[in-house]
Point group: C2
Chain length 158, copies 2
C-alpha cells in the first residue's frame, strides 16, 4: 500500500491527512500486532521527529473510526492491527508473547453470541487462545522472543 492509498483511506473516514497519521497507518499495516513502542520506532524511520503523543493520538483516532483495531491480551500492552471486520481471533504464546491470527471458521453461531446475554446488546465476541508457540514448545533454546513477541514473557494468569 502506498502513501496515496493511506491518504485516501484517511480521507474516506473523514480524517485530516497528516504525515504522522499516514506513517502510523503504514506502520500498523506493516507490523501486525505491534505495540505502541514498535509503531513509534517504525514511524520515526521516515519521520524522525514525531512525538510519542502524536502516535498515541493517531492510534486512538484510527481505532475510533475503525481503521485499526487494538487488542490487549492479559499482561500485554496495547497492540494494533489492520485486519478488521473479518472476525478473526488470536493465538497468544504464554511464554514469548507471540501473537498470530486465527480465522474464525466456526463463523457465526457459537463464537458470536453468548448462551445468555443477560440483557446486554452484544456487538462483538473476542476470542483469545492461550498456549505455547512451536518454538517455546520444543523449548530447546528456551523462550525465543522472535517475531512480534513481547520483550518479556507474559504471565497471563493461567
Amino acid at each position: 500500500m502506498h502513501a496515496e492509498d493511506y491518504s485516501a483511506t484517511l480521507r474516506s473516514s473523514s480524517l485530516r491527512v497528516t504525515k504522522q497519521r499516514v506513517a502510523v497507518l503504514a506502520a500498523v499495516d506493516t507490523h501486525p500486532h505491534a505495540d505502541t513502542e514498535t509503531v513509534i520506532r517504525s514511524v520515526r524511520e521516515s519521520l524522525p521527529d514525531v512525538s510519542h503523543q502524536a502516535v498515541y493520538d493517531s492510534l486512538h483516532t484510527l481505532t475510533e473510526v475503525g481503521l485499526v483495531r487494538s487488542i490487549q491480551p492479559s499482561g500485554s500492552v496495547a497492540r494494533y492491527e489492520r485486519r478488521i471486520g473479518d472476525n478473526h481471533h488470536h493465538l497468544v504464546c504464554r511464554s514469548c508473547g507471540l501473537i498470530v491470527d486465527v480465522d474464525c471458521t466456526v463463523g457465526h453461531a457459537p463464537c458470536l453470541s453468548p448462551s445468555h446475554d443477560h440483557g446486554f446488546a452484544v456487538d462483538q465476541a473476542e476470542v483469545t487462545f492461550w498456549g505455547l508457540c512451536p518454538d517455546c514448545r520444543s523449548g530447546g533454546s528456551g523462550p525465543s522472543d522472535q517475531g512480534e513477541g513481547s520483550p518479556e514473557p507474559l504471565s497471563p494468569d493461567v
Copy 2:
C-alpha cells in the same frame, strides 16, 4: 465459606496459611471480578494494616496455583474471580465496565480449538463478549456505574 475453609483451601494447594492470604481469598470470593484496589479495600476491612504488596503477592500466588483466575479486558486493570475450571466466559459493558459471567453452553468444540493452531499447544480459549449492559442501553440515566463496573468507562477499541 468460612475462614477455616479458606485455610483448608490454601493448605490443599501447599500454601502457607496467613491471615493476609485468607482475607484475599475471601475478598475475591465475595467480590467477583474485583480489581486489586477493591480487593485491598475489602481485605482492610478485617486487616486494616495489610500492605498493598501483600495483596499483590497473594493474588499472584493464588493465581499461580489456580485458586483464583485473573482476567483483564482491554482497557481494564486486572480483575480476579474464583470461578475456575468451568470454562465460563465474560460479558463486558463498553460503557460502564460491568462484567458478568456467561456459561459456555456450546461446550467443547468451537470455543476450545482454533481452526488452525499454527503449531501452538493451546491450553485455553478465552471468550469476551463486548456490548452494552441493560442500564447503559436504556441510557436514560447515562452510564450507571453500578455493581462491579469500573470507575471510568472502558474504551476497548471497537
